[in-house]
């Protein structure tokens, strides 16, 4: 973990609420090792209404350009402030934080990565790492409309992309859990990130199929590195910190399906 100033290299609107922000360390040092599922804590110091840092997933790591990507959805003052930062400006991050999705060692397993909304953020980096390890990856991404399915071209580099949209403007009409894929294909691992109801539904499908499932939680955090005990999730092992023992949990550990 480190506290580091980054320079904003680019800040691109992907749709009306989401921005892709690429940053590089201000001191030009190489980015440290990072795992898919990990996140950063962003200092928000230009918004009077915001006091704490804001957790944002690592969307992608571009080692060639020494760039970290953050995909940010504007939901309140903090994310709006982050999204307002212009190229050349500084942003301070604590990173890398949290555990990561399990990356099994070189077996030829099939992975399904299910994301909804901005919850797709960590799945790009995850897909890339799984792909690099030779696994076969299917992405199943959902949104209200085609414009909500972000970074499609990037996802397609690392696997096959399936989509659902509520208005049917892209992929199958409906929610991710209703995609025909669930009937057609079998997977060895299912990883998911998105709204809690979506993840619960995905975990349920996974359990029905006897497939191990990992989900990335977005509990409210004060510190992000295990000091405050505010972000706990009730698990079979008691209250665990989402920021250090998560954000990724095997869904069997969670009380969701009880």
């Amino acid at each position: 973990m480190q506290v580091t100033d980054f320079i904003i290299r680019s800040n691109e609107a992907l749709n009306d609420r989401n921005r892709l922000i690429k940053v590089t360390p201000a001191d030009h040092r190489h980015l440290p090792p990072m795992q898919p599922g990990q996140f950063v804590q962003v200092l928000v110091d230009r918004s009077p209404g915001t006091f704490l840092r804001r957790p944002i997933s690592i969307n992608f790591v571009d080692r060639e350009k020494n760039e970290l990507w953050l995909l940010v959805q504007e939901v309140g003052d903090g994310t709006r402030e982050i999204c307002s930062r212009q190229p050349g400006e500084v942003v301070n991050l604590i990173y890398p934080l949290g555990n990561s999705f399990t990356l099994p060692e070189g077996k030829s397993d099939h992975f399904l990565l299910v994301g909804g909304g901005v919850g797709t953020a960590p799945l790009l980096f995850l897909g890339k790492e799984l792909h690099a390890r030779g696994f076969q990856v299917d992405f199943l991404l959902g949104g209200r409309s085609a414009t909500d399915i972000l970074q499609r071209a990037d996802f397609e580099q690392y696997g096959t992309l399936y989509c659902t949209t509520e208005d049917g403007s892209l992929g199958e009409k409906g929610f991710v859990i209703h995609h025909s894929l669930w009937q057609e294909k079998r997977y060895d691992f299912i990883y998911t990130c998105g709204s809690r109801p979506m993840m619960v539904a995905v975990a349920r499908l996974a359990r029905e199929r006897g497939v191990p499932c990992e989900a990335s939680l977005e509990n409210l955090m004060a510190c992000g590195f295990g000091a405050c005990l505010c972000c706990v999730e009730k698990t079979t092992r008691g209250n665990l910190n989402t920021c250090t023992e998560g954000p990724v949990f095997n869904t069997d550990m969670l009380s969701w399906l009880d």
Partner: protein, 303 residues
Amino acid sequence: MARLDVQIGGLTLRNPVTTASGTFGYGTEYLDFVDLGRLGGVFVKGTTLEPRQGNDYPRMAETASGMLNAVGLQNPGVDYFVEHLYPVIKEYDTHMMVNVSGSTIEGYVACAERLADLDKMPAIELNISCPNVKEGGMAFGTSVKSAAEVTRAVRKVFPKTMIVKLSPNVTNIAEIAKAVEGEGADAVSLVNTFLGMAVDAERRQPLLSTVTGGLSGPCIKPIALRMVWEVFHAVNIPIIGIGGICNWQDAIEFILVGATAVQVGTYNFIDPTATVKIVEGINDYLDRHGFKSVSDLVGLIRK
């Protein structure tokens, strides 16, 4: 270079900057950020006789220049602490002190007794002011009688430095400080969190599982400063100032109104390196203003 060391009861801190219980874990969580050897001391997480799971999620709500927490003293209990955590943290190059919490006098006493045996545990902080547990904690700190009682009982079993942490949720904090001084406290630390509440207007629900929680952060600093100032004029034991400290200016302010040392709390979450910067800032300040020792600043602002 001016002298930074300060005296809290029988204990010498290498400098006045320590960390507030519940915001710095067991120090371990900050090893990547802070050389603990540069701190005056670390107050670790509130520890109780029995393990506690704490309150349900959500336990946190952001507020204007602050936050509410309702952690509820989640901790593995004093036995686990002594067996598994103490052996690790006793190697750290600073004073590691335990914040002793409880809901009965017997609980405080038994917990303090366990800790009294530990070689490298020079002091405890008696938390009679946690607003986040139903059965007690804060209740002890809001009446002169019960504050005195629990202090007296723990004093009997804990011969080393005993700091009593006061609740700000009272009409007259000086009165309580005097009471615990009378029962042999070596120092007082103040303030703990203010009892507060936050609401989600859209969903018409409290934002904390416990409805109310403890308010901390820069928002409380003006009240905390005033309380330290009042207590300074009421007692003769040292005061550890707490409440919204973010930078060296804040720390100096607390010292000027009467604190001998300070604790940095919530702001560690925002800048985990804040403590070390504060030590540096105090040092610079002393040099710049020609003070020989940080002790010369204590209580310089007079009535």
